[in-house]
């Protein structure tokens, strides 16, 4: 199977390990990721906060490029995903001559894509090292689900894709209420005080629910959740979901990815004998 891949800017820098694990896991599942040629930044919050046209056009350019390929467009970053979806929705409702987008493809978040039945089955078949005993809280954040009219999420208040994936890997998935609570990612540089407060609450609830680690599907959330934890010694690790996939599938790059984390996530894995 072949799909287009739009990594997004963060995956070139701060979220390198996410990019690496995505490519490795998809490779292992026989999914060919074809990076969208000449893709540009989606504009993120900065574009839609300041200018409607930028918010529409920056993602639109990518959509048009992908349209030419006719392959579904897989996006690992929730922020990019939402910007692309929002732009797509507008283009389909009100076509723009500059961006002749026909909509021959589906824009999908990598998480939702991998949680599709046939992929989950593939994963299940290939699990080599079940994550038995690892207690994880799946954290989806905002933009993969909201607003559902744009993202197409069927259960925006209680998404289950990551839960299902983690369960398929044999992890112990914690039930908790803060799956989609905002972490303040877009404010992390300008108002770190706000982001810190939001992150604290999310982590507290995850711990109370009994989680040893969080799992994320978005580079913004992941980095925010890590950086806003401060210096305390009881810091909670935050995995990318593809890292855990890679681990369970027995892929070799895992250690390298995990080393890049600001909060070392290896402790709980060692305890369970997973690395």
């Amino acid at each position: 199977m072949k799909v287009s891949y739009y990594p997004g800017c963060s995956l070139l820098g701060t979220a390198r390990e996410y990019d690496e694990s995505n490519r490795a896991v998809c490779g292992a599942l026989g999914i060919e990721l074809e990076e969208l040629e000449g893709w540009n930044c989606c504009g993120a919050t900065s574009a839609h906060s300041t200018d409607d046209y930028l918010a529409l056009a920056l993602p639109a350019r990518n959509l048009v490029i992908a349209d030419g390929k006719g392959l579904d467009l897989i996006v690992p970053c929730s922020a990019c995903f939402l910007r692309l979806k929002a732009s797509e929705k507008k283009l389909l409702e009100m076509p723009l001559a500059d961006f002749p987008y026909r909509g021959s493809l589906k824009v999908k978040h990598l998480l939702n894509f991998l949680a599709e039945d046939e992929n989950i089955q593939k994963i299940q078949e290939r699990v080599k090292k079940p994550l038995a005993g690892l207690k994880v809280a799946c954290y989806y954040g905002c933009l993969i689900v909201r607003p559902p009219k744009v993202t197409g999420a069927t259960e925006p208040e209680d998404p289950k894709e990551m839960d299902r994936l983690m369960a398929a890997l044999g992890a112990e998935v914690i039930e908790w209420s803060f799956k989609t609570e905002c972490c303040g990612g877009s404010l992390v540089l300008a108002r770190p005080d706000i982001a810190t407060k939001l992150v604290e609450r999310i982590l507290k609830m995850a711990k109370e629910a009994g989680a040893e680690a969080l799992v994320s599907c978005c580079p913004m959330c992941q980095s925010n959740l890590e950086t806003c934890q401060g210096e305390s010694s009881h810091r909670t690790p935050v995995f990318y979901f593809t890292e855990l996939l890679g681990l369970a599938l027995g892929l070799s790059g895992v250690k390298g990815w995990l080393k890049r984390h600001l909060i070392d996530p290896r402790q709980p894995l060692r305890e369970k004998g997973l690395i």
Binding site: C9, S10, L12, G13, T14, A15, R16, E37, G38, W39, N40, C41, G43, A44, T45, S46, A47, H48, S49, T50, D51, D52, Y53, L54, A55, A57, L58, R61, C142, L143, V145, R146, P147, P148, P156, E181, C182, G184, G185, S186, L187, L189, A190, R191, D193, I194, K197, L198, T227, K259, R260, H261, L262
Partner: protein, 184 residues
């Protein structure tokens, strides 16, 4: 003090945002779900109420749209289907100056967009440098705040998370064109 309503402002916002703010029946759901009300001067429903009554100065001077995290919680749950986050965008766009407490936010956006404009993608190191410069590095150094940020930068660098050399995309002229159209 007292309020004398001015409906033209409401119509203006409605037109610009494409959202019917007048539909809001003040159920307060947006505010009770908004994660950052603690940092706002007016919770979202109050801001919308002020838009309804046309309190232009207050609205455009409010901190609220600036600290809004664009989490879309309000938009998702509003029973009247009002895209409140979208209204926040509009208000942010209309308010040229950010109020106290949000001064850094437009600077961040500017740095971010400049980075895109220059190379088509965000070059994190460059973007951060620009942002730090704009937000008055000297004051920060004095208040030792900068230490935190630079330390974070170092941590990232150490782990290979800082891409030191920028990448310029092919087809940059498209991007330039897009930026020329800005404000359309």
């Amino acid at each position: 003090m007292s309020i004398a309503p001015q409906t033209s402002f409401l119509y203006h916002i409605e037109e610009k945002s494409g959202e019917k703010v007048s539909l809001c029946y003040q159920c307060n759901k947006c505010s009770s779900g908004c994660p950052v009300t603690f940092a706002m001067d007016f919770p979202p429903h109050v801001l919308l109420r002020m838009v309804q009554l046309g309190l232009k100065e207050k609205v455009l001077g409010s901190l609220t749209p600036w600290v809004c995290a664009s989490c879309e919680t309000c938009t998702t749950r509003c029973p009247n289907g009002i895209d409140i986050a979208r209204v926040m965008d509009t208000l942010r766009q209309m308010a040229r100056v950010a109020p106290a407490g949000a001064e850094d936010i437009p600077k961040f956006h500017e740095a971010f967009l400049n980075s895109i404009k220059a190379r088509g993608r965000v070059y994190e190191v460059g973007m951060l440098l620009e942002y730090m410069f704009k937000t008055d590095v000297w004051a920060k150094i004095k208040s030792r705040e900068i230490i935190k940020e630079t330390k974070l930068g170092w941590e990232m660098f150490r782990r290979g998370k800082m891409r030191l050399f920028p990448h310029t995309i092919r087809g940059l002229e498209d991007i330039k064109k897009i930026f020329e159209h800005k404000g359309k």
